[in-house]
Amino acid sequence: MSMDRRQFLKIAGISSILGFGATAVSSAKSPVFETLAPPQVEPGKDALIAKRWAMVVDMSKFKTEEDIKKVVDACHHTHNVPDFRNPDGTADTKFEIKWIWKEPYERAFPGAENTYMGEHLKDMPFVVLCNHCENPPCVRVCPTKATFKLTNGITMQDMHRCIGCRFCMAACPYGSRSFNWVDPRKTLKPEFENKDYPTRTKGVVEKCTFCSERLQAGKIPACVEAAPKGAMFFGDIEDQNSEVRKIVTTQLTIRRRPELGTGPAVYYIIGGSEHA
């Protein structure tokens, strides 16, 4: 049979598309897409379980800068969070990555300050981190579900799946997310690496994960562990007997930007607490 060039190209094009399409569909049945389920997999034997993990912070128990620094360092060292610094020692605001850090009151709760408030109140330090919202805008916008809600309430980050589009960073109303603009290993010294946790690579977003991997091993989050006594509480807020539930029910706590309807799970006690 004779055919002209256009017909040949059309047939070749359609065959290629069908060929690739068929391969894609058949590979969709491959083990790659099968998820493991119990009883083939189990939670860790000491794993901490909750319906909804939440955190309560009592800033009045952080007495010194050192107290706050211990909490930040505990988190960042545990998770190999890189430390980008300018030559003069200040944080490099371009590349910096932070999972938990300190902000003054007027920045952590913008709009809540007033003109007559004393400077010492505006500068009162607050420890801020991802709020693991109930209704997180970041999860709503992620095109690959690289950030998603775990059944225990944690807003989790899957650094393997993240394509680095940074839509979640635009969506987060709290500025909790950081992006790896360059290779983070450049600032990590091998002797400070936590060998039990990976680093990240350039091009992915990262943030606090409420120490999901520690919870799986029966440990509370690193920041809570390193905080002064009574400064940070962590527990299942849906468990009526948990400390976080008791505090939130009986004491005045505030959350960041509550009017946005995100439902943060990090509560800040107003007025200090008696809980030790």
Partner: protein, 390 residues
């Protein structure tokens, strides 16, 4: 018909060669960015989208603007647009291609882009954006090719193409609405949290895209024997005028809500862009240039005495295009991120590699556009004098 893109005189090949050179340089810097990371750009933790996403946003508008020719011609039988609808469709192809390239350039892990398809997420606007852009590319390529091929043969196109032509109309509206939804649904960004975001996007698209088309048509007339015609160009000019009026009006509406309500969060983005905030006023000259160009070009388009002179019309279109490019391709993005959620001002300015990569992508777009236009022009030159029936 494809072979017509490879037949040309010295000036055509010089232009193609120039674009290829820009592409090669842009690609070199992209390889650097791929190896070093997006830190090579001016983006940072607080302004996490910059020039690339701005260009993508602007070009989706240009792509959608093809519909401003399709609606009059196919829905309202406005025969004057018969010869130039193809120019709009080919511009759409080139623009959508650039959009996709800018998104790829902006991704932190571009090798993982298949994750969008492997793990479809209907609640994510970006997932839908990807789908509608891909669909729009296919529709315009199909419609453009089939109708032009039919014109070349001198016969009407097959009847089934009408379905895709009509489909392209709501599809064009959808691509830009979906792109607006990327911004308009984010609770933390008050500068973008506006119901008329999609309407603003469409208005600026329907002004900017056809304005570019007018400029391109005038260039086509200069470099070839194909004359799009004085009347069609004037008709497009009227459309640009109305759309630009809507665009400027909508921007004024935004200003009103922002400043009359007195809510700091709503106004601070505008303040940063137009008068500066906390001592930072890097973008102020740029934004005022955009506003002045917008006002002047709108006036030039409104008065027929000015609009009818093609030289002045071209000038108005150039100013309009630049104005919208600044506003949508740059100011809109930065204004949403500054100030940040902590009410701090961290500014953004693109770096040299970032700009070169941007120019490289535009060069790819213009390369595709030039080759497609060459084909369209060749067909028109061949069939000049033959009535085109669709």
């Amino acid at each position: 018909m494809l072979e017509k893109a490879f037949e040309g005189g010295k000036s055509y090949w010089a232009w193609i060669f120039f674009l290829c050179a820009l592409i090669v340089v842009g690609f070199y810097y992209y390889l650097q960015q791929f190896s070093i990371g997006l830190g090579l750009t001016g983006m940072h933790r607080d302004v996490s989208w910059g020039l690339y996403i701005g260009q993508f946003t602007f070009l989706v508008g240009v792509a959608a603007s093809a519909v401003m020719l399709v609606i009059p011609y196919y829905l309202h039988d406005f025969k004057k647009f018969g010869k130039i609808v193809i120019l709009g469709e080919f511009l759409a192809i080139s623009a959508v291609l650039m959009c996709m390239l800018f998104i790829m350039a902006d991704m932190g892990q571009p090798m993982r882009f298949m994750n969008i398809l492997l793990h479809p997420t209907p609640n994510s606007v970006m997932f839908w954006d990807f789908l509608v852009l891909a669909g729009y590319l296919v529709i315009n390529a199909l419609v453009g090719w089939v109708t032009l091929g039919a014109d070349k043969k001198g016969s009407p196109p097959p009847k089934w193409i009408k379905f895709f032509i009509i489909l392209s109309i709501p599809w064009a509206v959808s691509i830009h609405t979906v792109t607006a939804f990327l911004y308009a649904g984010l609770p933390g960004r008050h500068f973008w949290l506006s119901a008329i975001m999609a309407a603003r996007f469409l208005a600026s698209a329907f002004a900017g895209g056809p304005a570019l088309l007018i400029i391109l048509s005038l260039i086509v007339r200069k470099v070839s024997k194909f004359d799009p015609g004085k009347e069609p160009i004037q008709a497009v000019g009227r459309i640009v005028g109305y759309a630009m009026f809507a665009n400027v009006f909508f921007l004024a509406l935004e200003f009103f809500t922002a400043f009359y309500s007195g809510i700091p969060g709503h106004a601070s983005g505008f303040k940063y862009l137009y008068v500066g905030l906390e001592g930072h006023s890097e973008l102020v000259p740029l934004m005022w240039t955009s506003s002045i160009f917008a006002a002047v070009s709108l006036l030039m388009l409104i008065f027929p005495a000015i609009r009818k002179k093609e030289g002045l019309l071209a000038l108005a279109c150039v100013m309009l295009f630049i104005s919208l490019w600044i506003d949508k391709g740059f100011g809109l993005i930065i204004g949403g991120f500054v100030p940040n959620p902590f009410e701090e001002v961290h500014t953004y300015w693109p770096t040299m590699p970032e700009s070169v990569i941007t120019v490289g992508v535009w060069a790819i777009g213009f390369l595709v556009l030039s080759m497609l236009y060459k084909i369209a022009i060749s067909v028109r030159e061949q069939t000049a004098g033959i009535e085109i029936e669709h």
